[in-house]
């Protein structure tokens, strides 16, 4: 969407005097790939892009490479967020890893981002893309020779198919008009439902099959904007030693359970863990289920309100039924 790309650059130009850095997306090593852009000069703002390939959640960089906490006189950091990304930003503010005052947030209503692996499976020959955008229920990819159209159902990331927050929940400037969510509030996550339709035994076998492929590369954890422990993650710690280096099924299971349990009541469903998994394991699914449990039990959704305390870090003496 050319117009939004331009609007993005224009907006940052307006406020660049107050910023030390803008984090957005730019075209990567080829036209099919977007990659995070870190822009420190207003002249480089032209590199910014926005299109359905911009699937990265940039909020992780706020904590992992920068220290966006409150500092006197420090300039702000500009960041581009989609609906899902904005929830991660909110969660990070909630947990005081970044301060709202340090951020200038450009929010982008998003119709969904592309799962490149699915797209390439459909059209392995795809290259030299000029533009890519979403028209109705289709992804239109215009190459030098022709325009290819793909049903969104077949090419979007799994998380986008069940997106309830296409519009950023926190921003300084909204780029474009708000969108209607694809899935309405209260609707159960469809993939969770799908798995739950099967028997206990089948579910266990499903996870065995999926997790069997895990090579414990930690990409899922590294990509997660809310995995804030970084180098001190207990998945690798020797003291305490929660997990041995043995590479059996139990270790793989426990590995993913640790990741999931640490995100209970915190995961904002940005899907980065799943997107980066080289073995294509649906690792976000566990967290979706945990979110559903937390929503049902404690009526809480992560990353919506910077003022609240995540529910497992607080309590309510009067709650009953548990």
């Amino acid at each position: 969407m050319g117009s939004k790309t331009e609007a993005l650059a224009k907006q940052f130009e307006k406020v660049f005097d107050d910023l030390e850095l803008v984090i957005g997306w730019e075209t990567g090593f080829d036209s099919l790939h977007a990659t995070p852009a870190f822009i420190r000069q207003p002249s480089a703002l032209g590199r910014l892009i926005w299109n359905p390939f911009c699937s990265h959640n940039l909020s992780g960089y706020l904590t992992k490479t920068l220290n966006a906490t409150a500092q006197e006189d420090a300039k702000k950091i500009g960041i581009c967020v989609k609906g899902c990304d904005s929830r991660s930003v909110v969660a990070l503010i909630q947990e005081k890893f970044i301060s709202r005052e340090r951020l200038y947030i450009a929010g982008i209503p998003c119709r969904g981002t592309v799962d490149l692996r699915r797209l390439m499976r459909l059209k392995p020959s795809l290259k030299d893309v000029n533009t890519v955008h979403i028209e109705g229920n289709e992804l239109a990819v215009e190459t030098a020779r022709q325009t290819h159209r793909f049903p969104l159902q077949d090419v979007l990331l799994r998380k986008c198919l069940q997106c309830r927050y296409p519009n950023p929940v926190l921003y300084d400037e909204l780029i474009g008009e708000p969108l209607t969510p694809r899935v309405t509030e209260g609707q159960a996550p469809p993939f969770v439902d799908k798995l739950e339709a099967h028997s206990l035994e089948q579910r266990r076998v499903f996870w065995e099959r999926e997790l069997d492929r895990c090579i414990r590369c930690y990409a899922c954890r590294n990509a997660c904007p809310l995995c804030v422990c970084q180098d001190n993650c207990i998945l690798e710690s020797r003291m305490p030693k929660w997990l041995s280096q043995r590479s059996g099924m139990s270790e793989k299971f426990f590995f993913h359970m640790i990741h999931a349990v640490h995100l209970a009541g915190r995961c904002t469903e940005c899907g980065e863990c799943e997107r980066v998994c080289p073995m294509e394991i649906p690792v976000a699914l566990m967290k979706e289920k945990l979110n559903q449990v937390v929503k049902e039990l404690l009526d809480y959704e992560a990353g919506l309100n910077p003022e609240t305390q995540p529910p497992l870090l607080t309590f309510d003496p009067s709650e009953t039924g548990i």
């Binding site: 890893f97 422990c229 001190n232 993650c233 207990i234 710690s237 305490p240 305390q309």
Partner: protein, 652 residues
């Protein structure tokens, strides 16, 4: 590590259903176990000597005793190994009696289970570390919160023992509820005659520093070393200059102010001294009514004050006091009877609360001690008391008995018959609760000698008829409905924790019950302690009680403080949380969840923020440990590795 295992036979208590010898033999197969044996009574003197000898003989570095519950003898065995030169935390106890031999008669299964339990203890012990207590000095000053009779007693007892006392009272005078009472049951002592001298003692005792018209703003620190922020609310009068002459109160033109001391019967002036015997006897301006504050001009008091004490520009001020112990004596408030719509919901002027009636009885009250009903100032001919207003009533959320109402009703009715011999007194009651010295005799006397008419049954409705009130009730002993035409109805309102009790509890980190009464550490054996070390309770803030019980608790709390302060230092329990700074990511979640405020931020030289545990405040619950994402904070002696070792011993 060289580990020794001792399996106790406990006479036949264990040996009957557990093959202790087999357990000891099996233990030799466990890692690091170099010595294992069973023994008749391991906790006995020779049993302990056997352990000590084995430590020396086999150069043991850690000991496992499989015996009774550690809740029984852990301390015993820790002392024993310490005497033999080991650190007392290099000891683990496997519970093979309460959790094993006593709950099943299957010898095989019990023996297997005992082996597992020993194995778990051994595995845990392999991760044990020597731990050491530290000693912190005690600041021998005490803070008393609340200047009612319970607080006064605690303060005087502490001061008597030579301690420095800081007393904080929310109102502009001490004395609390007791100062409002006319007489006290069952002796009909004059309340101000017995409380007055104690109030004066507080004022005159050099060891007591009184902050009146002040509240607790913040509390930090821990036993022996609390730091307390006290908010001195603006009185708009410089109390150092004020002599309490009362000239300002005579001339103040704002005369229709709500009179808190007289429970809203009658009015007072915007600048006032609550009552003649107030301590401190200083004036205070109620900004809600003062003409200068509400209308912008007046300042009559400022012009008149002979010592120029008026300070309209005064603001709240926070002062900090450091103390080593805190006595909480915040007392109570009375239930708001306006929730009872069937009794008029506060709309009938001649339906009043018992405390209002108390002010009518008091010679220093608005009617000079003459019983006159509020609506028309006439002396009543018929008065009805309703008991249990906001007591024993689940429908208004007050299912408990307030404990004092039966007695004060009898007192008020007796006094009424004394003042107005022609006035008929009726009392509606459900049960009469008079379990104290001379209490029941007192209630009987009200009926037998003073002719107070008691009827058993609650009242359903009160409604006006002409200038009188119809009280519609039941006499359940007869099983009929009854009606009384009354001039005045007195609602015996029950007790509830004072306004703000919950907020204060959270500052002090003490717990409270469903209603807001503070929780004692143990209902029988630690009645004035709380679960926060160094904080003690006194009086009604802990639960309904009468004056003698409140005074008794005040003295008890003072005794606890004296006992604490008889030492110079406090030994800390080393089984507390500990932060591995290199792993701490500074997320602050431990600080958020700690129930005791025992974790604080620490800034390292590189500017990074880390969690830091205050060993003396930490109670060792381990909530931080469970919460910490990178497990940088570990509860000593119950670390993740120790628990995991036990889990691994069983699974995998």
């Amino acid at each position: 590590m060289r580990i020794g295992v001792f399996v106790c036979r406990c006479g036949t208590n264990i040996a009957n259903t557990v093959d202790t010898e087999a357990v000891a033999n099996k233990a030799l197969e466990y890692p690091d176990v170099t010595h294992a044996t069973d023994y008749m009574y391991t906790c006995s003197e020779p049993g302990q000597q056997e352990i000590q000898q084995a430590i020396k003989e086999h150069a043991l570095q850690g000991i496992v005793v499989a015996a009774c519950s550690p809740r029984m003898h852990e301390a015993t065995f820790r002392r024993a190994v310490e005497k033999a030169g080991l650190n007392r935390y290099m000891f683990e106890q496997a519970n093979i009696r309460e959790h094993c031999s006593w709950i099943s008669s299957d010898i095989e299964a019990n023996t297997r289970k005992a082996m597992d339990l020993v194995r778990m203890s051994v595995e845990k012990l392999r991760f044990n570390q020597p731990l050491f207590s530290s000693y912190v000095p005690i600041n021998k000053r005490v803070l008393v919160i609340g200047g009612g009779v319970a607080g006064i007693q605690a303060a005087l007892d502490c001061a008597e023992g030579g301690l420095d006392v800081v007393m904080v009272e929310r109102e502009s005078t001490i004395g609390g509820k007791m100062a409002k009472l006319d007489k006290t049951f069952p002796t009909i002592d004059c309340s101000s005659c017995i409380l007055g001298p104690k109030m004066v003692d507080v004022a005159q005792n050099d060891n007591i520093h009184l902050y009146a018209y002040s509240e607790i703003d913040s509390v930090s620190g821990y036993i022996g070393n609390f730091k307390v922020g006290i908010r001195k609310k603006a009185t708009y009068v410089d109390w150092d200059a004020c002599t309490g002459c009362g000239l300002c109160t005579e001339k103040c033109p704002a005369k229709k102010c709500y009179d808190r001391f007289n429970e809203g019967l009658g009015t007072t002036t915007a600048i006032n001294i609550p009552f003649p015997q107030a301590i401190p006897k200083k004036a205070c301006i109620d900004a809600d009514y003062c003409r200068y504050f509400t209308k912008g001009k007046c300042k009559v008091c400022q012009k008149l004050c002979p010592t120029s004490a008026i300070r309209f520009e005064m603001e709240d001020e926070i002062v900090t006091e450091e103390v080593g112990a805190i006595v909480v004596a915040t007392g109570y408030d009375l239930f708001d009877d306006s929730v009872y719509g069937e009794y008029g919901g506060g709309h009938y002027p001649d339906v009043i609360s018992a405390m209002q009636y108390e002010r009518l009885l008091s010679a220093a009250g608005p009617t000079g001690g003459h019983i006159r009903r509020p609506s028309d100032g006439k002396a009543p001919k018929d008065i009805v008391w309703l008991s249990c207003i906001g007591s024993r009533d689940a429908s208004v959320g007050r299912p408990y008995c307030s404990g004092i109402c039966c007695m004060y009703i009898a007192k008020q009715a007796t006094m009424t018959r004394d003042h107005l011999p022609d006035c008929n007194c009726y009392v509606s009651y459900m049960d009469i609760r008079a379990p104290g010295k001379n209490y029941d005799e007192f209630v009987r006397r009200a009926q037998e000698e003073y002719g107070v008419q008691y009827f058993r049954g609650r009242v359903g409705k009160i409604y006006p008829k002409g200038d009188r009130l119809i009280v519609q009730g039941a006499d359940t002993l007869l099983g009929i409905q009854i009606e009384i035409e009354a001039d005045l109805v007195v609602l015996a309102t029950g007790i509830e924790p004072s306004d703000g009790a919950r907020g204060l509890a959270e500052k002090l980190r003490i717990s409270y019950d469903d209603y807001g009464f503070y929780m004692e550490s143990h209902p029988k054996l630690r009645p004035v302690e709380t679960n926060t070390a160094g904080v003690y309770l006194s009086g009604v803030c802990q639960g309904p009680k009468d004056i003698p019980a409140s005074v008794g608790q005040g003295s008890a709390a003072a005794a606890k403080v004296q006992a604490l302060f008889s030492r110079d230092t406090i030994e800390t329990d080393p089984q507390v949380a500990n932060v591995k700074e290199i792993a701490c990511i500074g997320c602050g979640k431990c600080i958020d969840v700690c129930p005791f405020g025992a974790i604080q931020w620490k800034t390292l030289r590189d500017g990074s923020q880390k969690a830091q545990v205050l060993e003396t405040v930490c109670q060792g619950c381990g909530l931080c440990n469970a919460t910490c994402p990178p497990k940088a904070i570990q509860l000593q002696h119950c670390t993740d590795d120790q628990i995991l070792a036990e889990v691994n011993a069983l699974c995998g």
